[in-house]
């Protein structure tokens, strides 16, 4: 049964942003949850030098094209390699931050009470406009929306990441969606796009029956 808090959130989203209601539900659907859980699971397994070498006690993570920020809360809940200081959610949708605040307010409050101090900061910004300084402030850069972006935009963005950054990318072969302008056919094609940018690439594939989701984790050259 849905709890009262969830029902209240749904009601408020519907009242305040009716045109976003379906989009918000889509952002939280089962496949989104599975994809994000899968990402955190594989990220926890990835052998990244910061496990041993990084002196910083806490790290920062940047989520590109973060939508309403569900992945940030998955990371807070399940990422177990390092403590997270900040998660930056970058999205050019000016309503993302407001809707995310409404969606995750209770989780933010609960986390604070549990002593989880990770801050989730939304940046209302096109990822094309991120500076090298902004990209350098995070140890991990995650982009789960490669299929939505021109390839050159992804490359330009990667070029701004400092060498040694941990990079996580997802794409898919779900060609029929109108906003998917840069799908790939298979995992090999996806990996081949980034071999000149990343080292120690680990590759993964998840079958959703009507399409496959691909993921690579690697270190920026």
């Amino acid at each position: 049964m849905l709890d009262i808090n969830t029902i209240e959130i749904i009601r408020k989203i519907f009242d305040r942003w009716p045109g976003r209601f379906v989009d918000v539900l889509n952002s939280l659907n089962e496949k989104q949850q599975i994809s994000k859980d899968w990402l955190v699971e594989k990220l926890n397994e990835y052998k990244y030098p910061f496990r041993h070498k990084l002196k910083k006690d806490r790290i920062s993570i940047m989520l590109l094209c973060s939508w309403y920020g569900m992945l940030a809360y998955k990371l807070i809940e399940k990422f177990n390699v390092k403590k997270i200081d900040r998660i930056y959610c970058v999205d050019f949708d000016p309503k993302s931050k407001m809707i995310a605040n409404r969606l995750f307010r209770k989780i933010d409050n609960d986390n604070l009470q549990k002593g989880i101090l990770t801050q989730v900061n939304f940046k209302d910004k096109d990822i094309k406009d991120l500076t090298k300084e902004e990209m350098s402030s995070c140890e991990i850069i995650i982009n789960t929306s490669c299929e939505h972006l021109h390839q050159q935009t992804i490359y330009d963005n990667l070029d701004k990441c400092p060498s040694g950054s941990l990079i996580v990318l997802q794409s898919n072969n779900y060609h029929k969606i109108q906003e998917h302008i840069n799908t790939v056919e298979n995992l090999q094609e996806f990996v081949s796009q980034y071999q000149s940018h990343l080292i120690n690439i680990q590759m993964y594939e998840k079958d959703f029956l009507d399409y496959k989701r691909f993921m690579i984790i690697g270190i920026k050259r």
Partner: protein, 188 residues
């Protein structure tokens, strides 16, 4: 000189729809004009290739806004039964069709479905470049939120006017003998 555009993308409509529209325009639009088909597969001398191949279907209609001049656009599935010279007037204002007559029963669901009360089966404009430029800036967001350009234009507060008079109607109203009859969504 009026530029008369149509868009043929993909396989939903075959070439005969373009030829039929061209013939109808020649018969019923006697003002000097140039017929142009914006297409992903150019093959005729009046074809020009789409400029943003990453877009699908109806979104190429929106990319026509990069072109300035006295412009008219027609969907391939409209039927023209009489003189349409009345359309060549007031190009300075972006004009499309009021779809309220056949959408009235959907009003209660309009908002949360990002639905629309306009239809772009026919459009008229001179300079709408800003609309397309703004779309490109946040293309991904708009493609995610809206199923087509009618919804995009209506819900993103883009300025428009609608054609006045009774010469345009939709098959969804049960009217088939008007000057222009839209067959919107008939071939979906």
């Amino acid at each position: 000189m009026v530029n008369v555009y149509c868009v043929k993308w993909g396989t939903k409509y075959d070439r005969s729809f373009v030829e039929n529209l061209k013939t109808s325009i020649e018969k019923h639009f006697t003002i000097e004009h140039k017929f142009i088909c914006f297409t992903d597969k150019p093959e005729k001398d009046y074809d020009i290739p789409v400029t943003h191949p990453e877009l699908r279907g109806v979104w190429h209609k929106l990319s026509l806004f990069q072109f300035t001049g006295d412009n008219l656009f027609f969907d391939l599935d409209i039927k023209i039964n009489g003189d349409i010279n009345f359309l060549a007037d007031r190009f300075d204002t972006f004009t499309c069709i009021d779809s309220t007559p056949w959408k009235i029963h959907k009003l209660d669901r309009l908002e949360y479905r990002n639905d629309t009360l306009i239809n772009t089966s026919i459009m008229r404009w001179t300079d709408n470049r800003k609309v397309f430029d703004n779309f490109l800036k946040k293309r991904d967001l708009y493609l995610r939120l809206y199923k087509g350009i009618d919804r995009y234009i209506y819900n993103e507060d883009i300025k428009y006017k609608t054609f006045q008079g009774t010469a345009i109607s939709s098959w969804q109203e049960g009217i088939e003998d008007n000057t222009i009859v839209l067959h919107n969504q008939k071939y979906a």
